[in-house]
């Protein structure tokens, strides 16, 4: 915060040096122009932050909820956006090649712990509420929480399943079901284990063998969607009547008129986090933006326009917002949190097991 927001101060030596070249010619007529080059205001030196998100509707909502208001409040800050943050290999490639173009990145719970910390800048936890929310560490701060839930066609299934055991019951609910085909924290193993009678607080570490045995029982009725959006699209198209979906994506389709509902019981909670890649060029500005996006005051701004719950436990979303019914906040029913450390350490095994099981 040193040279930021101190309107009355004289420009620092560095600002004069930076702005000096372009302004030298004008020095005689307007002494201050030299200090304030293009894009710089007297309020502070101009800053630039590159924010990388998942793209799509979520990132558009983040722009509206956080980035645009932040730039209005801080006219000297310019936020540039990029997409593709779920591709963690890009972070690794940037850090290892020493050419880090992202300053602040929205990542999932399967990134940012354990050995990934070597790829990240430690956060300034005096500024940022690093550990206030679920899964937060000095390297990643919780941004928002999403839920994987049972999704169903409201027109085809008048009495939706209330538990995963019912969801797995082909007698009660004939027809196909969709999962997102990925070995990460999206609920494949957890739902199978819950359906098989594992208590909801005893899911981790996952009994993978048991989960696959349960999945065997409905193998021929499963459709493996290539992306999470496709699980919802398969529901909307009528290709399946039941699916394991992210509530936020179900909301997006339901809002457009698709006959899709979600069941708030035995749902999985995952979090997205903000991280700063090691060697980020605008580290300090990124810290400040991260603090704004994740504090109790501003964090819920996203939940009011996009159905994810705040990452900060004290941030309160607006209960009258249209999104409220689809966001995992203040809902009854049992829930579990994805154990991100478990997923980070067992990724390889899980991916291999899933591929082998699918191959049979």
């Amino acid at each position: 915060m040193r040279d930021h927001g101190r309107g009355g101060d004289w420009p620092t030596r560095r600002q004069v040096l930076r702005g000096g070249l372009g302004g030298a010619a004008l020095l005689g007529s307007a002494p201050f122009l030299g200090a304030c080059g293009p894009g710089e205001s007297a309020a502070g030196k101009s800053e630039r932050v590159t924010f990388a998100g998942n793209g799509g509707a979520l990132q558009k909502a983040q722009e509206k909820a956080y980035l645009a208001p932040y730039m209005r409040e801080h006219p000297n800050v310019k936020i540039v956006q990029d997409v593709g943050s779920t591709d963690y290999s890009r972070i690794e490639a940037m850090v290892k090649s020493g050419n880090v173009t992202w300053d602040l990145v929205d990542v999932g719970g399967d990134f940012g712990t354990g050995e990934h910390e070597a790829l990240l800048e430690p956060l300034d936890c005096r500024l940022i509420a690093c550990t206030a929310g679920e899964g937060g560490t000095p390297y990643r701060v919780p941004l928002h929480r999403y839920a994987s839930v049972m999704g169903y066609r409201t027109d085809k299934i008048p009495n939706p399943p209330k538990t995963w055991a019912e969801w797995f019951d082909l007698g009660a609910y004939p027809g196909k079901r969709a999962f997102f085909r990925v070995s990460g924290p999206t609920g494949i193993y957890e739902s199978a284990l819950l359906a098989d009678g594992v208590p909801i607080d005893k899911l981790f570490p996952l009994d993978v063998d048991r989960a696959f045995r349960k999945l065997d029982s409905i193998r021929s009725s499963l459709i493996w969607a290539p992306s999470p959006t496709d699980t919802v699209r398969l529901l909307a198209d009528g290709e399946v009547a039941l699916a394991s979906v992210f509530s936020s994506q179900a909301y997006a389709m339901a809002k457009d008129g698709a006959k899709i509902g979600v069941v708030w019981n035995e749902y999985g909670l995952g979090s997205d986090y903000l991280v700063i890649p090691k060697g980020a060029k605008n580290k300090d500005a990124a810290m400040k933006l991260a603090a704004y996006m994740t504090d109790a005051e501003h964090n819920a701004q996203l939940s009011n326009i996009y159905p994810v719950a705040p990452g900060h436990p004290e941030a309160r979303p607006d209960e009258s917002a249209a999104t409220y019914g689809f966001l995992p906040s203040g809902k009854g029913g049992a829930s579990f949190a994805y154990d991100s450390l478990y997923y980070a350490t067992n990724q390889k095994m899980l991916a291999q097991r899933l591929n082998e099981w699918l191959k049979k």
Partner: protein, 284 residues
């Protein structure tokens, strides 16, 4: 002899040949180096043990087999569809060639992602094809058109057909039309003239098109992910999973290197069948 060719090469380079330098540099820096880097990564991150992945799980070797089978089938399908199309472009006159050529190039104007998802709308159980057939009473349960090898082949053939058609057409244009005319004037039926004269002369185009389609097929991952059998991934899908899903550049690199070697082996085996120079359009 060697000295003579050497001097001729230098002579060529001194002239217009130098114009190729940016292209060569471009390929070396942006293609050669990343490939070498991938090979190095596969041996050093963390060690050559990356290659042990083949012993760990049968998934990977199976994926190579699936990949080559799918690539061969796709190449065959492209050839079957593309040859008559290119032949019509070649023989149908200027206007028809322009119109047909336009339709070949049309797919390049939309993204592969859009085209692949459009196919899923057509092929799925509640898709356009199955709903129409069900409504017409032709079938009483949806045909399995998607999430299997058929879906992958349809999607990939759609993407790769233009490469085949353009290669075939380029090859056919090099055939002297007088040769088939001469054959017919000597009493050959049109069919015989085609079979004995035109078809053999168009082989260069067939080989060129097949090689291009086969090699591009080997790297597909999006189309099989959307339209294919989730239990039989192509090697491209597994490489993506290793690199983007698990940050495992080493194993991803190893899978890539093996794919590269296998591809080169296929191309090399191809040279036993075909003279590569004829594929490149070299005329002796």
């Amino acid at each position: 002899m060697l000295a003579l060719t050497g001097r001729m090469t230098v002579k060529r380079l001194r002239g217009w040949g130098l114009l190729a330098a940016p292209g060569i540099l471009f390929l070396l820096v942006l293609f050669g180096w990343p490939l070498a880097d991938m090979a190095i990564l596969s041996l050093t991150t963390p060690s050559p043990s990356n290659y042990a992945v083949f012993a760990e799980s049968p998934v990977y070797l199976d994926a190579y087999v699936t990949t080559f089978v799918v690539a061969l089938v796709t190449t065959g399908a492209c050839l079957l569809l593309g040859y008559p199309y290119a032949y019509l472009m070649h023989t149908g006159g200027r206007t028809l060639a322009l119109i047909l050529g336009f339709f070949v190039l049309l797919p390049f104007w939309s993204s592969i992602l859009v085209r692949t998802f459009a196919w899923s709308v057509w092929l799925q159980d509640t898709g356009i094809v199955n709903t129409t057939l069900l409504d017409a009473g032709v079938i009483d349960r949806p045909l399995p058109l998607i999430r299997n090898a058929l879906g992958t082949t349809i999607g990939m053939t759609h993407v790769l057909l233009p490469f085949m058609v353009l290669s075939l057409y380029a090859g056919m244009r090099r055939i002297d039309p007088n040769l088939t005319r001469a054959a017919m004037s000597l009493g050959a039926s049109p069919l015989t003239a085609f079979r004995r004269i035109f078809l053999p002369l168009s082989m260069a185009g067939i080989y060129a098109g097949s090689l291009i389609v086969l090699v591009i097929s080997l790297g597909f991952y999006l189309t099989p992910a959307v339209l294919g059998d989730p239990g039989k991934p192509l090697i491209g899908q597994l490489i993506v999973e290793q690199v983007t899903g698990q940050l495992n550049f080493g194993v991803g690199g190893a899978l890539g290197v093996v794919l590269l070697v296998a591809t080169l082996a296929v191309v090399w085996a191809g040279t036993w069948l075909v003279d590569l120079r004829s594929v490149m359009g070299y005329e002796e």
